[in-house]
Structures are given as structure tokens and as C-alpha cells.
Amino acid sequence: MPKIIIDGQTVECRSGIPVLQAALEAGLAVPHYCYHPGLSVVASCRLCLMEMKMRDPKTGQMDWAPKLFPSCQTPVRDGLEVRFCSDPVRDNQQHVMEYYLLNHPLDCPVCDKAGECYLQDYTEASGPATSRMVEDKTKNPKKDIGPHTLLYQDRCVLCSRCVRFCDEITGSGELAVVGRGSRCEIDVLPGQPLQNPLQGNVVDLCPVGALLDKDFLFKQRVWLLRSARSVSPADSRGQTIWIDYNEAGIHRIRPRYNEKVNEWWITDEARFGWKHVHRRDRLRQPRIRQGTALQPARWEELPALLRTWFSQPSPTVPNPIAAILSPMLTCEEAWLLAKFARSLAPQATLVLGHVPTVGQDQTYPKGFTIKAEKCPNRRGVETILQHLGGPTASFQEFLGQAVEGRFRAAYVTGGYPNAWVMDPIATALAKIPFLVVHDLFPSALDAVAAVQIPGSAWAEREGTFMNCDGLLQPFERALPPLEGVKADGQFFSELLGQPGLFRARTVRETMAAELPQFSEVFIPRDLPKHAH
């Protein structure tokens, strides 16, 4: 751990990082645009310049060198002494900020980046209040560079982060800088739009409002949003995300830095995979079959009803009860539901639900991986099932047994963002006389379900997901459940007869008493503002 001196303060930092990164991690607000810890260093924004102590070749004394050094490009070494608080450094920051604003259209009122824009922040911190350029500004109309992205070239500061991202992280290289000097601009080749499974990241990367997300365009101003720490349910990797939401619901998803999983990036699946939360056709009321139709029921009736149905032994089949634990459930919910099933029927079959997969795992040059498994908690549910022991079955086995009519009652949990009830599943489950379906959307099971319970989406719940590598990551609730809907965990704990509110943390602590895997969760540290 080298120690360096920044502005007279000794800072211990990781070795091999640039001084800028060390300064940012120490909490200094050093302005910068082009530097990003996940990308190569180009040192072109010239904003992070610093002064450094060097040995004077004439006197041999250590003294401040009469020039400035880019801190993003100077690696730390023990005993290095630098400073950002000197006049030359500040002067340079001011001048560079003036240059940045020369041709900037200053259309912050209509720019979606306003509020989280580095240009605004740095200008406020160290920039001039007015521009001295009286000539016309360079105007450059917006360009549609991809299915999800718009480019407002006149807001661009040419930090080339997006270009480097496409070159280095995705390796697809759609973006390039074209033109020379002040006519430089970011562009794509004709007919080759910015289109890759990680493309949304360029919008987060962009320190200014040049690259904008069409999905979020003009929807909200960022200061009207609140953020919740969450984990994406889009694939089994457990990418950590911020859910930006307000009273009107979710507005966007941003990556949350996570050194163990997704670093600074998330996949587009995670970024845009929240739309199902606000789908109009979400189930909103528990319903019980009366005659041929499902009739609206009250939540209060359900626990007693389910308990009676699930606790009746069958004279013919030894274990006629099954609980299908969807990999979309959190560990806590799966635990509670499994406990519920076992508490009523000790020989109940526990089944890991349908695990959706799409294609193959995709790994990018720098190691970013998109998992084929499109559910967040397969491994967590498996861990719980292994621990509980007793009769378990895979989903296929369960379907096979169900077709034979071996089950009298089953509790099926869904929660998948997309339709998952295919024909074989529907036909197999139709053989179960008392079928409880706990899902987000109407499906083919509505025709056969005895009880239909509306589920809550992941953004409306709290809990933990265990990712494909066994990393246990908690997430917060962003939204309240739909009106008239109970959060899954709350309902499960009511099923178990536990009083009070469901708190994922409490449940997890009781789980940890039996299952040491659940004793520790991983919460990545929050990066300070502008720390990348």
C-alpha cells in the first residue's frame, strides 16, 4: 500500500492506480472527464492536471516541478507528493472550463443530464460565470446513433469515454471520433448503429448530456428522482443497480458499482428490464375459484384456506403437496414458503421453479459476462432446498409427476417478467386439483388455478439474491406494492402465522442460524460523487 501526499495530507492507496483515482477515493473533488477507472487512460481533457514534487536537476532538491502533470496518467508510488490546491492547477481548471463552455449550447433546461452533469458541477465549482466568446457557437444537431441512444454533439466534451467503452469493453467499436480540431465529433459508421448488449452504459459514462437514453428522454428531471440500491433480476449474475424512481414509478435503472460482479456496467437487459413492473395487466387482487370462475377474495381469507388445503393428508399418495419455488423469489421468501409447505405437510415436495435461459453465456474482452440464465436467485433457492432436504424434485421431474396426478395441491410461484407458462407446464399443472398460482401476470394457469394470488415485482420487495457465483447481495424496496397487493414476503410470513411486518433482514438472520451461507451479505461500497 503506497502512501502518497495529496495537498499535504498523507493518503494510503492501492498500488497501481493513478494519482487521480487515489485522490478521488480519498474524497477529493478533482475535476475530470476523460478518466474512467474501467477504461484506458487518454489524458485528453486536461482538467485533472496537478503539480508534483520532483528532483530539481540543478540543485538535487525535491521541489515542485514548474509544469503540470495529468494526475490520471501518473501512477502512485510511495512518497509521491502532489497538490491540487495550488494556483496554477486552479487556473488551469478555470481556463479549461471556460474552453469547454465556449461552444456548449447551455441548454441545461432541456438537457436530461442536468443535475448530474459534470459540466454543471465543475463549472459551479471552478468555472467562469460568463463566456467571453461573442461569436456564434458551433451548432450541431442531434444524431440518432442507435436504437437506445441519441447523440447531442454540441453538448459533447469529447472525453472519448464512449468510444473507449465500445473499443475496450464491448469490443464492438461502433463509435469513433471523426473530424479534426474543433470539428471533432463522435459518430457511428453509416448503417452501423450503436447496437450491442451493453450499449446503455455509454449514457452513464457520458459525463455531460451528449449521449442520452431514448427511453428516459424528457421523462423526468434527475433531481426529482430517488434512488434505491437494488440487484437486477435480469440474469443470474446479480448485477447491482440503482433504481431511480419517484411517485410515478420507476424511471430508469443505472449501474451500481460492484467490484465483485459488474463493476461499472450493466447489461441492457438489466437496464431496460423493468418495464414489466408497470405493465397494465398486472394481477391486482387475490381470487378464489368458485364454480368455474375466479371470484375476488380478501387477503385475510387466504391463509386459513391454504392451511386447510395443504394440511389435509391424502390416503393414497404419500406426499401429495408441492411448493414450486421460483428462482425469481428472494432467498427469504423462498425460505418462508418452503417452511410453510413443510410445516403443514412434512413430506411436501419442494421444487425449484422454471429456470429461464436464453442462448449461451456471453463474455466480453475485458471479462464482462452476460449470463444465459435469466433469473436472479436459482442458486439461492437451490441452497435452501439442499439444506431443508426431504423430498425435492427438479421442475421437469415435478411436471412428470404432476401429469401422473400425484399431487393434490401445489403452490406455484412465478414472478417472471415474461410469459413462462408454456403448454407442457400448463397441461401438467392442470392435473393438480388445488393449484395456488402466485404470479405477476395472467397466464394459462388462470383457467386451472384454484387460488390466484397477485405477486409483487422485485422493485416492490426487499430481500437478497444469491448470484450464480454464490454471492449473497441484498436489495432495497423502491416502490410500494400495487394497491391491493401484498408483498410476497409479507404474505408468506402471514401464511406461517408470524405476526407483524415482514423484514427481510430479520428473516435472513433466522436463516443464518441454520444456514451459515446466509450469515454474510455483500454490499458494494457506494462510490463518492464523480468518483469515476
Binding site: 489524458a43 496554477p88 461569436e135 456564434d136
Partner: protein, 482 residues
């Protein structure tokens, strides 16, 4: 001993590009001598000669070679033939008349640096020169001066000529390297310097054409000959270019230490101004090095040079050291362009700013935005809508661009800042008079027309910005420009 032209000895000689003519004049003798030495001895030899790079910065070539890591396996030699400084054409003259001299220099330098592959990065616009050089190279290959086992020494060298696509910034060594690698000609951040990590991330030496062309002569004529030419710290012959309204514009070889006045008025050189005009300004080292004034009182009789006094600056000695006394960035390419007394300096300013604005690579903010801003201001001043405050803004912009080292990745912004700043500071009186002679309210109306928003900014309401840095105040009124 009269000065003997060596670099330009074959100018005007018929068929001088052929190997036969070159060999007749001790051609490749230096290379043969070099190949008999060990590379380290050769480096020491060149170091002793104190051969300073002719590309502009004047860094000793031998010292540069010693920066290469000792344990290197691959070394590349890049020859910078991307001669794109505005009034400069000595490399072109050299290649035109004596391509083998360059090739021999390449061979010597490559041997000294243990290079196996050399690239000659040639300016894209040099079409004829490319063919001349390519032909010469083919000849040299055929004669065994390149390729495997050169002259039986066991040393092999491949040489390629690469043509650039026409960018000023590719004359910068890392920009050149990037361009050679097939990328955008964007200068690289240093460190690592090319000597450590250059072309294809391997140790690389980049030398100028003229520098390499000197090598055969040092080897054949010896260090003493070399050291007998030139001034105290600047040794050897140098090719000077002169352009503008002089009687004999062109490229001339002279020992380092020619004065600017001699270059313009000397009978062997510029031969005086056309029609007896007076000199107003001179850019003595290519555009980037800054301007000298030529329109004032002659030098005082005691010969003391004090640039802060009123006198013309034509006595500037064009070597690597004296120029700095005149607030120039360096010798540069030693290509002087003369601005006559009847020229409008607003044109000059526009020309200079436009050039750098066009040629900025767009990587560093100061350079990308600053050059374009200065061009816009210069255009407006030229259009007769300047404001006194514009001059201060330009001077300040030049300071913010590159007057402090380390502000940008390459030296282009320094090179842009220097001529613009010296032009404005040294000729401020004329600019002010030009602006004062404009139609009243011209600036305001133009600005109001083009950018109504900016018109409201307080800087327009006659509040002059405090002058940044001193200007050269003239006690005597210069006649207002016609």
C-alpha cells in the same frame, strides 16, 4: 575557410538522385565507416559531434539514442519526413536533390540504434519526393545498402516509406507513431516516451530528415570538421528557408548562426526585399516559433540587444540559443517568412490562427477549443469588427493554451500560442489602430447580428479587460496603416 555546402551540394546537379552520382561524391562511405564501428562507439561518436536535432526542438540526436533501454530486443527507427510547418521546405529540397544522403543517414542511425526496421514517414503531399525516395531506396536495396547483411557486416535493415494522409500533427513524434500504426494521428501521452514505448509499443527513435542527412558528413569528414562550423552550442550546417516578398526566396545552406537580417538581405540568401519595401515582421523559424519585428529603429550603435527597447529584431542570430532572447520558442525549422510593411497584420493573424485551428488534432481541450476561438476572433477582427478587448482575450487564450508546460499532450498548442501571442504583443499598436479605424459600432452590430445573446454580456460594454502580460508600448507613433 570558406563555407562548403554539404547538405545542398547536389542541388542543381543533373541526375543527382541516382546512386551513381551520389557514390561519386563519397557516397555511402560514411555508412561503410560506421558499420565498422560498434553501435555504442557510433553513438558516442555522434554524441561527441553534438548533432542537435534539426526538427525544431534541437535535442542532441546522440543523447536521444542513449535513452533507449539497454535490454531491448526490437527497436524501430522512424524518420520524420512529415515536413508540414508552413514556410518550411528544406527536407523537400534535400530529398529532391539527394535522397541517398537521407538513406545513408537512415542506415547509420539504424545501425547506431541497432534497429532492424526503419520507417520513413513521409508527408502525404510529397508525391514526387516519394517516388524519388522510393526509387533511391530500391537502388540502395539493389546495391546492398539495405536488406540482409549490409556490406558484409552481418547487419540487416529493412526500410519502408510510409506516406501520411496530410496532418500537421503527425509531424509530432507520437502522432507520427500512432499514424504509422494505422490509428488516428493523435499524439500520445508521455511518459512513456517513444524511446521506451513507441511504435507498436516497442522502443523507437524518431529523427528528422535533416538530422539524419548530417550523419554521413560527420562520419566522412570527422567531428572536428563538424565542430568547426556554427556557433558555440549550435554546430554544423543548417538549411535555411526564406519566403515572402524577398528577391530570392528559397532554401539556402549556411553554418548555424546566420542572422535574420543576413538571411533577408544577404546577397547569397534572400537578396533584399522586393521593390525596396521595408520588413514589418519575420517569422524566423516556421510559424510556430513566433515573430520578430522588423519595422522599427535599427539596432543601436553599441550593439547591445535588449528586446524591451525599440529597435528592430532582425539581428537575431538563428541558432538554437539566441532566438530565445527575442521571445521566440526556439529555432524551429529555421524557415523564415517575411511580412512586408504594406501587409495587413490582421490577415497574418487570421492566417496563423486558421492554420492551427485547422490542424489541431482535437484531443486536448485547450488546443481544440482555444485555436478555434482564436480563429473566430481573428476572423471578426479581419472583418473590421474587432474590439480592443479581443487582443487581450487572444493573448490570454494563448497563455491558457500552452504557455505553461504540461498543459497539453503535445506541443502543438505551444506552437500555436507563440506566434499568435508574439504577433499581438509585438504589434499591438498596429492592431489597435486598425480597430480604431473601423466604422464606429461595427463590432457591436456584427456581434449583435451573429450572437444576440452574447451581446448582452458585460464585456461588450466598453469595459476593457486588464491587459494580461505587458505589451510592447511604442513611444513613437507609427504611421497609421493606410
Amino acid at each position: 575557410m570558406p563555407f562548403e555546402r554539404v547538405l545542398m551540394r547536389h542541388v542543381g546537379v543533373p541526375n543527382s538522385t541516382s546512386l551513381a552520382v551520389y557514390k561519386a561524391d563519397d557516397g555511402y562511405a560514411g555508412a561503410a565507416r560506421a558499420l565498422k564501428m560498434t553501435p555504442d562507439d557510433l553513438v558516442e561518436f555522434v554524441k561527441k559531434a553534438n548533432l542537435r536535432g534539426r526538427g525544431g526542438a534541437g535535442f542532441p540526436a546522440g543523447v536521444k539514442w542513449t535513452f533507449l533501454p539497454k535490454d531491448r530486443t526490437v527497436t524501430y527507427l522512424c524518420v520524420n519526413a512529415d515536413e508540414s510547418e508552413p514556410p518550411t521546405f528544406c527536407n523537400r529540397v534535400l530529398i529532391d536533390s539527394d535522397p541517398h544522403m537521407l538513406l545513408e543517414g537512415v542506415l547509420i542511425a539504424a545501425y547506431a540504434t541497432r534497429t532492424t526496421v526503419a520507417y520513413i514517414y513521409m508527408r502525404g503531399e510529397f508525391c514526387a519526393q516519394f517516388h524519388i525516395l522510393q526509387r533511391a531506396l530500391d537502388e540502395a536495396y539493389a546495391a546492398g545498402y539495405f536488406g540482409r547483411n549490409i556490406l558484409g557486416s552481418g547487419y540487416s535493415l529493412e526500410c519502408y516509406i510510409h506516406r501520411g494522409a496530410g496532418a500537421y500533427v503527425c509531424g509530432e513524434e507520437t502522432g507520427l507513431i500512432e499514424s504509422l500504426e494505422g490509428k488516428r494521428g493523435w499524439p500520445r501521452i508521455k511518459p512513456p516516451f517513444p524511446a521506451i514505448e513507441g511504435l507498436f509499443r516497442k522502443p523507437t527513435v524518431v529523427n528528422n530528415v535533416e538530422t539524419l542527412a548530417c550523419l554521413p558528413h560527420i562520419l566522412t569528414r570527422g567531428v572536428d570538421w563538424w565542430l568547426s562550423i556554427g556557433t558555440a552550442n549550435s554546430k554544423g550546417p543548417k538549411m535555411y528557408c526564406i519566403s515572402g516578398p524577398v528577391n530570392r526566396p528559397g532554401c539556402y545552406e549556411a553554418p548555424l548562426g546566420l542572422s535574420c537580417r543576413e538571411l533577408i538581405y544577404g546577397a547569397d540568401f534572400g537578396g533584399g526585399m522586393c521593390d525596396g519595401k521595408k520588413v514589418k515582421a519575420v517569422f524566423p523559424g516556421g510559424l510556430s516559433m513566433g515573430a520578430l519585428r522588423g519595422d522599427m529603429f535599427p539596432k543601436p550603435p553599441d550593439g547591445k540587444v535588449d528586446p524591451r527597447q525599440d529597435h528592430d529584431e532582425l539581428d537575431c542570430i538563428l541558432d538554437f540559443d539566441d532566438v530565445r532572447k527575442y521571445d521566440l520558442l526556439g529555432l524551429g525549422t529555421a524557415a523564415a517568412v517575411v511580412i512586408p510593411e504594406d501587409a495587413d497584420l490582421r490577415d497574418t493573424l487570421l492566417n496563423v490562427t486558421r492554420f492551427y485551428s485547422q490542424e489541431s488534432c482535437g484531443q486536448c481541450t485547450q488546443c481544440r477549443e482555444g485555436t478555434a476561438w482564436m480563429q473566430k476572433i481573428a476572423e471578426r477582427i479581419r472583418a473590421g469588427a474587432g474590439r480592443p478587448v479581443d487582443l487581450d482575450i487572444i493573448v490570454e487564450a494563448t497563455r491558457n493554451m500552452g504557455m505553461m508546460p504540461g498543459l497539453s499532450i503535445c506541443g502543438l498548442p505551444d506552437g500555436a500560442a507563440w506566434p499568435i501571442r508574439t504577433l499581438i504583443q509585438k504589434f499591438r499598436r498596429e492592431f489597435e489602430q486598425r480597430i480604431a479605424a473601423q466604422a464606429p459600432g461595427a463590432a457591436e452590430s456584427l456581434i449583435r447580428r451573429t450572437n444576440a445573446a452574447a451581446y448582452e454580456l458585460p464585456v461588450l460594454h466598453g469595459r476593457a479587460v486588464q491587459p494580461v502580460g505587458g505589451t510592447y508600448a511604442t513611444p513613437v507613433d507609427v504611421a497609421p496603416p493606410p
